[in-house]
Amino acid sequence: MRNLGPQGADGSGDTPPVLTLDNITKVFPGVKALDGVRLDLYAGQVTALIGENGAGKSTVVKTLTGIYQPDGGQILLGGTPVPFATPQDAAKAGVTAIHQETVLFDELSVAENVFIGHAPKGRFGLIDTAAMYKKTGEILSSIGAKISPAVKLKDLSIASRHLVAIARALSVEAQVVIMDEPTAALSQTEIEELYELVDTLKAQGKAILFISHKFDEIFRIADRFTVFRDGQLVGAGIMNDVTEADLVKMMVGRSVDQLFPKREAEIGEDVLVVAGYSHPTEFEDINFTLRRGEILGFYGLVGAGRSEFMQSLIGITKPSKGAVRVGGDIRVIRSPAEAIKAGIVYVPEDRGKQGAILDMPIFQNVTLPSLHKTSNNGFVRMAEEFALAREYTERLDLRAASLDTNVGALSGGNQQKVVIAKWLATKPRVIILDEPTKGIDIGSKAAVHDFMSELAAQGLSVIMVSSEIPEIMGMSDRVIVMRDGRMVAELEGDALTPETLVRQAVGIRETGGDT
């Protein structure tokens, strides 16, 4: 592997970097998110930050914007160390960011969202609302967004929200602009507008940090790259010097097939049939059949509505139309309790909110959906609880100090294992895994994948929602692609290629679509 080294300035060492992260370390309980990394940003250049999920990219962004304080190392602005104690310090120093999560305010208008914290002031130090609305309108039209500045944020779709977040970052007079996966939820035309915008910013001499998982995009706009793996710097340099294969190698550090230990499973009879599922605002007309022993992938951009559909399948929200057949019976599932009875369980994507009860101990989390099994006449039996919890957590090789530890104290990967253990303990027929490896380390990822295949081999039917193409490609027998709440393709065998997946997900037609 070619390691270009931290200085990585070969060829352009003449201009010093505007901003440098020097030997930064950031530790979370159980995870070293950043381990002595270095990152340089240059005026008028786009630096791409690349790395797998959980590599530490967003942590860098939060450190740079004063949300996190590093545990070691320093940030240098124009050569001098600057402590970014608060987000305002960072903003004052001219650093602005589009965060990966949309951090906006539902009840406020678009313009208020864009200018919160730095609204233009008029007489008496009061906010100049007229100027605020006007400027917002200008910024929005400069990125080609057709959104009224006066509309409340809660009435916007996820894509529109992303555009508002971009507008917000641009509303600040900044010399450093950070974009954390800005295109993840945008349509092709919006992405093109964004590229043009990046070019304009470059021309204005701003230093840009661009985080993305899409290689075509990186090669299209980046001048430099920095690669992280598991919180460490593994390479940095100039885009022209590398190929896609080099970057992948740096990112993953091992050959990809080890990560996806898909075993051959015998595909059996139909277990779950979904027909005509619809919802007024979230999804429309979903139809598919899931068979025994099968892993069915659901691919789409973030915000495509996959999670919403899965949640209505287990009775969290009510579909307006449609029916399910489980194991031969047509059922109406009105609540997760009924879904569990029907043998359908869901491992949600939002672990902290939906998956685990963070302030409760591991064993109580595991037994929560199966309390009736470990209790007698309504009284819980602790010994049986511990036994059940031990059986499943040890099978998943959970790392924890004791079963009495609160789930909140575990690392992300181990939390995910607790959640999966909880659902396996109910002995389901169908298990739905929504972004099962989101934000978990590479080792746990492999374990989760391995376990998934084993489940399928044992005759369980698996639905896996994922936004990662390698995971989808490596694990699924069949893939359904969703876009804007609709099912747009069902791919299998030779038709299942990364290119088709992306095309279907962003909505480009087979021929001549990519402008």
Binding site: R254, Q258, L259, P261, I314, I316, S335, P336, A337, A339, I340, Y346, P348, K353, Q354, G355, A356, I357, L358, D359, M360, F363, Q364, L368, P369, L371, H372, S375, G378, F379, V380, F386, R390, T393, E394, R395, L396, D397, L398, R399, A400, A401, S402, L403, D404, T405, K422, G443, S444, A446, A447, D450, F451, E454
Partner: protein, 333 residues
């Protein structure tokens, strides 16, 4: 690379024994406070250590504590009911109406409990079916329930309850042990078991800690909340029976302001007002603490409002002191 080939490690059940955990808990802090107050009272007044006096003192908290037990569960589950005192008023009024129509003691008790349950059901339905925040709903029903009582009773009063009805609030089971105290003690055990030993109790904690997570785990969150509102209503009905029996009469202003004392008792007992944690032993000790403080100061003829300063300081202090302490220690390190 694949991890599942390695032999799984053993995970111990617990690191600290349950005994150890208990020693470090809020309950022991509160118990120490209670013992301290007991000693201070003994020193301050020669009348304190007297069986009959202590027995009388229990009336300062028994009715409130009955409601506090149910309220503790409700608050642990992330909801609150501020209408409990008004439920007492309405239930007592309903009993009065039944009495006027010639009902005997068993029917009166049933009417009181049933009215309480109905009120609880009304609160619960508004919260779970319409998805309204319970604090707002119960501020509304607080006026509504007592208002209904005013409409029925106006400036009148119900008096002349049957003689045997007096047993609940004025009777003694054995020597100085009053009927109310026995009911209180039984309920403490029942609620303790319900919260700490049953699967229902477990779901209460889950709902309070993370309602979304609980819902996704197949818990019928709304049903749990509904049951808790019913239970709180029922306990308010029971408190109405005891209080009406103790006063021997009903006025619409009965038990006014009691809701805040009940909430104070629950919070002082270590129940997190934001839901998710708390225990029944804690509430039991808090009931004694409040009873001892008010009775002890009463013996010194300290006005009630000065007592409430003590309670207010206790409420904030017991929560603030551990936090100040840990902040101070962090600064020193």
């Amino acid at each position: 690379m694949s991890m599942s080939q390695t032999t799984p490690r053993h995970i111990p059940d617990r690191l600290r024994s349950p005994m150890q955990a208990r020693l470090m808990s809020w309950e022991s802090l509160l118990l120490a406070v209670a013992v301290g107050i007991f000693i201070l009272n003994t020193l301050a007044s020669p009348y304190f250590l007297d069986a009959w006096n202590l027995s009388d003192a229990t009336f300062n908290f028994t009715e409130k504590a009955m409601i506090a037990f149910a309220m503790a569960l409700l608050i642990i589950a992330g909801e609150i009911d501020l209408s409990v005192a008004s439920i007492i008023a309405l239930a007592s009024t309903a009993m009065g109406v039944a009495m006027e129509m010639g009902a005997g003691t068993p029917v009166l008790v049933l009417v009181g409990l049933a009215t309480g349950m109905l009120c609880g059901a009304f609160n619960g339905a508004l919260v779970t079916k319409l998805g309204l925040p319970s604090i707002v709903v119960t501020i509304g029903t607080m006026s509504l329930f007592r208002g209904l009582s005013y409409i029925i009773l106006g400036d009148g009063a119900f008096r002349g309850y049957p003689a045997d009805f007096a047993w609940f609030g004025q009777g003694y089971v054995f020597w100085v042990i009053s009927v109310e105290f026995v009911i209180f003690a039984l309920l403490a055990v029942v609620f303790g078991l319900l919260l700490h030993k049953t699967s229902f109790g477990r779901t209460v904690y889950a709902v309070g800690n993370n309602p979304t997570g609980a819902l996704f785990s197949g818990i019928r969150v709304d049903r749990v909340k509904m049951i808790l509102f019913l239970l709180t209503g029922l306990m308010s009905g029971l408190a109405a029976v005891c209080l009406t029996s103790r006063l021997g009469s009903t006025r619409p202003s009965i038990a006014s302001g009691m809701e805040l004392e009940v909430v104070t008792m629950v919070v002082l007992g270590g129940v997190n007002i934001l839901g998710g944690s708390g225990s029944i032993p804690g509430v039991v000790i808090a009931a004694f603490v409040m009873g001892l403080v008010t009775f002890g100061l009463g013996l010194l003829n300290v006005p009630g409002i000065v007592m409430s300063i003590f309670i207010g300081l206790l409420l904030i202090g017991v929560i603030a002191l551990p936090r100040l302490w840990s902040m101070w220690r962090k600064k020193r390190v």
